[in-house]
Symmetry: C2
Subunit: 328 residues, 2 copies
């Protein structure tokens, strides 16, 4: 494979000039730059990433650590992050922690070596570990808030409170929340705000779970659902699809027997029978904004401590006033 | 941050010896090695990946390019790959092509610079592009076969033919195949074998699609399903869950009115009402074996050209003889 020296020789310039022409073209005369580029192309010169990282200190890579790939939340998030990264000539490399704090730390370390900066999505490490990492390396958190570290958060708690208010307005006074994975920061935020709202309205809130965010767990949750709950809020779309299926299998009609709403709108909830009321969470935008914040950090720009993106209830046919309330 | 020179000074050895002690310990006396390791630990020396790659030629990283994260197929595949990579002290970095051949090629190039070798899962690039890449870089394909390039394939076509035989044995003569994403290599293999089986049995096979592998598309497929088809085979679990929901919404009972079976068993099909007959595809094993093959390649070992992992039909209550056939 051609080396930088080969390119320099072919272009009739010094190695330093060839390097500048490729890395910092603004420092080189246009004619020289074109000669070097032409030689590089002719010889098939492909600057080695390791060498490039050593000379420029930049890799053009953004690292993203996610806890799992089996949650549908991460597909649009990665897509948003990737599109924004590409707009600034960065590529995205992803690592999966499988919710293991040790693996998360190792992968973050390895990505930190390879990339210019790091995004950690719903990390499971301690606040201390994340603070320490942010001191060593440009870091943006997603859906996790640790003091004043740069973070992008989808504000599902506020949106969920609005969904709860909608149910309370419809007359529901016995509501179940089917919660998500154990130890989820977002889930903690949500349970807290739902409990507060229920207390204010003197309504009953029962929390089922923690549960994995899957169709399967939704079916289980439908079985475990208290008979007298007139409405159910679920952690995510997959749980909701499972609930919808499990309730149908148990001959409990939605919304006649029980109202159903979801804390995200990622999977097909508009196409089900009935369509399901859900929170529209701007997941792609969250991914995109996380990259923008990281690029800002890398450029030494001021980064707003936490960016909150609002989510918005979308009301559909699955939520209705409790039919039974009249004759109770 | 401590440099290699700091470590060398603290250990009282030359920089070259310190480097050897960390990279190629077998070349250094045990006492020296321990002194250097101790100094490195004390000073918090963390060898820079770029520098390490330049000196050892190895990064300890395995690159994995997938077309999307929104297909549930990739979560267990990545998990299997990661576990196997970790057994040999490798980490896994993932990039997502979003089915775009240009992005796929770019990401593969960038990963190739960062990693020791590359796994490309159901790549969308041309055979020529993949061959050319394999000449430049250790490459293992997953669920795509290109001549004699190292590949690991989940043999869903043979398993699907067995599912088809099961339906034919039950007396079905009008079967629909709800196919997957356009241009999928695996889907082409499947359509071909299903068509062949149908012709042999003088049965009718109608192919719906191509469709995205989603719950939503399954609901659409249920609407588009010919009324006289007595059995449906679907490309994957999500499509199948959508079909199940859409058929219920249209008051078509499974299996009384129509039998339903899926070409993978990734999402909850054992927990639905009724449980759905499906192909058990060893997706985690596919990911694991792809990494094993790549490590073999890196070690200069002979790599079997294509490894085929069999998939196996799991019969459940969703498939039954066509009830209507008696009075037709």
């Amino acid at each position: 494979m051609a080396t930088l020296m080969d390119v320099a020789r072919a272009a009739g310039v010094s190695k330093a000039t060839a390097s500048r022409a490729l890395q910092r073209p603004e420092l080189v005369a246009e004619a020289t730059r074109l000669r070097v580029l032409d030689a590089a192309q002719r010889l098939g010169f492909h600057p080695n990433a390791a060498a490039r990282a050593l000379t420029t200190g930049r890799t053009g890579l953004v690292g993203l650590v996610v806890p799992t790939l089996s949650n549908p939340f991460f597909a649009p998030l990665v897509m948003g992050a990737q599109q924004t990264a590409e707009k600034t000539d960065h590529h995205l490399l992803i690592a999966v922690s499988e919710y293991d704090p040790t693996r998360e730390a190792e992968l973050a370390d390895r990505l930190a070596e390879q990339a210019d900066g790091l995004i950690m999505v719903t990390p499971v490490g301690t606040d201390t570990a994340l603070r320490e990492r942010a001191r060593r390396f440009p870091l943006v958190l997603v859906d996790r808030q640790v003091g004043r570290l740069p973070a992008v958060v989808a504000d599902t708690a506020t949106g969920l409170a609005q969904l709860m208010d909608h149910l309370l307005d419809q007359g529901h006074r016995d509501i179940a929340y089917v919660s998500g994975p154990a130890g989820s920061w977002a889930d903690g935020q949500r349970s807290a705000i739902l409990t507060e709202r229920a207390e204010q309205a003197k309504a009953r809130l029962r929390v089922l779970g923690p549960l994995p965010p899957t169709f399967d767990a939704g079916i289980e949750a439908a079985r475990a659902l208290p008979r007298d709950a007139t409405a159910v809020l679920a952690y995510n779309s997959y749980l909701t699809l499972g609930l919808l299926h499990g309730l149908a299998a148990a001959n409990r009609r939605v919304p006649e027997d029980v109202s159903l709403a979801a804390a995200d709108d990622l999977s097909s909830l508009r196409s089900t029978t009935p369509p399901v009321t859900a929170l529209d969470v701007p997941v792609e935008e969250v991914g995109a904004l996380a990259v923008t914040r990281l690029i800002d950090l890398l450029a030494g720009r001021h980064v707003t401590v936490t960016s909150r993106l609002p989510s918005r209830p979308v009301l559909r046919a699955s939520t209705a006033p409790p039919a039974a309330s009249a004759h109770r």
